[in-house]
């Protein structure tokens, strides 16, 4: 057999002295790296993706997954991955795929932004003893509010409030479809969303009936494949999202590989078992802002005017596009930065198209303010939110809330190995293989995800307290409380942020 000239990335190794032959590694590896050789475990290391499932389930710490020390000769220009990809492409003629967000060393603006804090002249607030408001309402806000005094002497508004989505904290879970992730993973998201008073998003793959009890915490998505979309679906959740693009693969559609389309997924999507589920690159009924408006209102008409979100990848012209989306009638604009995750995308697209979320949020917030329509829609920022600090920074840049995907999957065991597109995820997350998905007990992992949301909420409160603010509302678009370090003048200008020291 022809041995690939692309050397394995990782070396799975077992210390045979420590190994007690329990064979758990064989059971646990979704990629079939291990097999039983009669007296010892055999290793096919070329298949290893360093997901670390085997390591965690080895009872005697016998396993080590090493980065293969055999690399091509060090070259600052022709990197290991350039050479390796060419070899793989020479062997297959195919497009290398990847999962998760871009791992390339582009500058990370989050890491060049610092938050303010109170000292002496303005008091900070202790969130442990004083009320601190994280509650967030997403949706159109009226440009003016009329009030009147009722007969009972109480003041009330007479302005009709457009429909709002109530979040107990400025988080939501980013869209991940049944098909790209397992039903159990979706259940984890739904249970945690309900418990935390936030929302999850079905992605484009229909709504499994098991999620119906969580419908008050679900946004349903309509994308180019229109999978699973019927009137019940549109009305099932608190809002409907039209997906135009995804940060990891702006401008291209989705191909859910046939390996991830067993019966249940085929049923939800209404396509034959084992076909690739193809989501066309554009929605062919949307070639313009006017067409988008038509779909937004078709959905509103079908749902008695539920809020509609429009999700786009952040591309160069994002501010003008977002303005068009708001004018087309969207209640929310979901911006997905180029670091955003994916279940499957061509690596070349993921790593070279789009712009970071930090620039995009600043530009969109500016533009909508300049045009006097910032109140017409909420901005949801996503695409590489790694911590509550990122959350605070992006909100200060102008977002109303964030959506998290990768961080949520990490609570389920994900190690960001990036091989989600194979359908073999050993953690039972991005796979439909029943023997793998049963590993993900929704109750157990929902608890962990709830912990994460609570922990980030506490941290956010601490940050707000240090800033002397008692509501997340006061941080929104409050760029005065941010400073840049090591950023050039132009970047600072785009972000609307002063350099540290000013």
């Amino acid at each position: 057999m022809f041995k690939s000239l692309a050397p394995p990335e990782y070396l799975a190794t077992i210390d045979t002295d420590k190994c007690i032959r329990c064979k758990r590694c064989i059971q646990n590896c979704g990629w079939s790296v291990y097999s039983w050789g009669g007296d010892r475990v055999l290793i096919d290391t070329a298949k290893c993706v360093k997901c670390l499932r085997c390591y965690h389930y080895c009872p005697v710490e016998a396993i080590q997954i090493l980065d293969n020390p055999v690399r091509f000769r060090q070259n600052a220009y022709w990197s290991y991955h350039h050479i390796r990809n060419i070899k793989r492409q020479a062997e297959t003629g195919g497009i290398p795929l990847t999962g998760m967000g871009s791992d390339q060393p582009y500058p990370v603006l989050f890491d060049h932004l610092l938050l303010d804090a109170c000292q002496v002249t303005n008091p900070s607030i202790d969130p442990l003893r004083e009320p601190m408001e994280l509650r967030t309402y997403l949706g159109k806000k009226p440009s003016r509010v009329e009030i009147e005094r009722g007969d009972d002497g109480k003041i009330r508004t007479t302005t009709e409030m457009p429909p709002q989505i109530k979040l107990e904290a400025p988080f939501m879970f980013s869209p991940m479809s049944f098909g790209s992730i397992s039903l159990n993973a979706q259940k984890v998201l739904a249970m945690a969303a309900k418990e935390c008073g936030i929302v999850m998003n079905t992605g484009e793959g229909g709504l499994h009936e098991d999620l119906l009890p969580y419908r008050d915490h679900i946004i349903v998505q309509v994308a180019s494949g229109r999978f699973g979309v019927n009137p019940d679906y549109l009305n099932a959740g608190v809002a409907v999202e039209i997906k135009i693009g995804q940060g990891a693969k702006p401008g291209i559609g989705g191909h859910l590989p046939g390996e991830k389309i067993p019966l249940e997924v085929a049923k939800a999507r209404m396509i034959p078992v084992g076909t690739d589920a193809l989501s066309p690159a554009p929605q062919h009924d949307i070639y313009s802002i006017e067409d988008l408006r038509q779909l937004i209102y078709a959905i509103k008409e079908a749902t008695n005017y539920k809020p509609v979100s429009v999700k786009i990848a952040t591309v160069h012209n994002v501010a003008a596009i977002a303005s068009g989306i708001v004018r087309a009638g969207a209640d929310m604009v979901y911006l997905d930065g180029f670091r955003g995750g994916t279940g499957a995308a061509p690596t070349i697209i993921r790593d070279h198209l789009g712009i970071p979320i930090e620039h995009a949020v600043a530009a969109v917030d500016d533009r909508l303010r300049q045009e006097g329509i910032r109140n017409e829609a909420s901005i949801i920022a996503a695409g590489g939110i790694r911590s509550s600090a990122d959350v605070a920074k992006i909100i200060a840049l102008g977002a109303d809330a964030v959506a998290i995907g990768t961080a949520a999957l990490i609570t389920m065991g994900c190690t960001v190995c990036g091989k989600c597109y194979t359908g073999n995820c050993s953690w039972g997350i991005t796979t439909q293989r029943p023997e793998l998905t049963v590993r993900l007990d929704p109750e157990v992992y929902a608890e962990r995800l709830i912990n994460l949301i609570h922990a980030w909420s506490h941290e956010l409160k601490e940050i707000l307290g240090a800033l002397g603010l008692n509501a997340i509302e006061s941080l929104r678009g409050n760029r005065e409380r941010l400073r840049g370090v090591g950023l050039d003048t132009q970047t600072l200008d785009i972000l609307g942020v002063k350099p540290a020291g000013r």
């Binding site: 979309v229 009137p231 019940d232 066309p280």
Partner: protein, 245 residues
């Protein structure tokens, strides 16, 4: 029959009146003087309801619709039956672009010509089989990305002109297209195989066309007299070899 005069009416008001009438139990509605109002029948869930439209309904007629029958006494515009779930639409004239996008069930019968990108990504699952039949000619990208369902194009008054445009069935990975007359394979997507219908196909065609001919008072034998071609995807995974894993 419950009549609404739509003359000069804003689409939201018209559609609200339609929904209210249906929820009050009206089964037979007549909309007069319709002139481009969008979204008629959008998202309506009701069986045994019949809506007759006089005039030209606007875009997104019957989007997401689930159950009713809509009869259009004239031409119709774009996006009819967008992601429709069940029910029937009969257009006694021509219709525009992007008909039946992502259609999941129900029937769309059009007497005349249809525009570009008709039947994109139609789906089907077991007994839920959406059907689009157009009596005239079609523009480019007929049945693009088709994943299920049945698309029938008759080209009744084609007079030797090509019945369908270019790129028929590009990206097709499910469902079937029947075209009455010859198909130039150069006009088809690479994912499409062209073949002769077999006995079963002909039976199927006959059932579908029987209903269609009845809707428009056409002669079934004449329609069936000409040979059909059957277009199906050559692969369930047209892009299976595109990637290096």
């Amino acid at each position: 029959m419950y009549t609404i005069d739509a003359k000069g009416m804003y689409y939201r008001d018209l559609n609200r009146l339609v929904r209210e009438a249906i929820s009050k139990g009206e089964k037979d509605l007549l909309l007069k003087n319709v002139n481009g109002q969008y979204y008629i029948g959008d998202g309506i869930r009701a069986k045994d309801v019949r809506i007759t439209i006089e005039g030209v309904p606007g875009n997104d007629l019957a989007a997401f619709m689930d159950g009713p029958t809509i009869i259009v006494k004239g031409n119709a515009q774009d996006n009819i039956g967008n992601t429709m779930n069940s029910g029937k639409i009969v257009v006694e004239g021509h219709a525009g672009d992007v008909l039946g996008y992502g259609m999941r069930g129900g029937k769309l019968h059009i007497l005349g010509d249809v525009g570009y990108r008709v039947g994109i990504h139609m789906k089907g699952y077991r007994r839920q089989v959406p059907v689009i039949i157009a009596g005239g000619r079609a523009g480019d990208f007929l049945g693009e990305y088709m994943a299920g369902g049945v698309l029938i194009l008759l080209g009744l008054d084609a007079n030797g002109k090509p019945i369908a445009g270019d790129y028929i069935g590009t990206g097709m990975h499910g469902g079937v297209i029947f075209i009455r007359g010859d198909v130039d394979v150069r006009r088809c997507g690479a994912e499409v195989g062209v073949m002769e219908p077999d006995e079963n196909d002909r039976k199927l065609l006959k059932t579908y066309l029987e209903e269609y001919c009845k809707d428009f008072g056409l002669n079934l034998d004449e329609v069936m007299a000409k040979e059909f071609k059957k277009l199906v995807p050559v692969s369930l995974r047209p892009y299976g070899n595109l990637y290096a894993y």
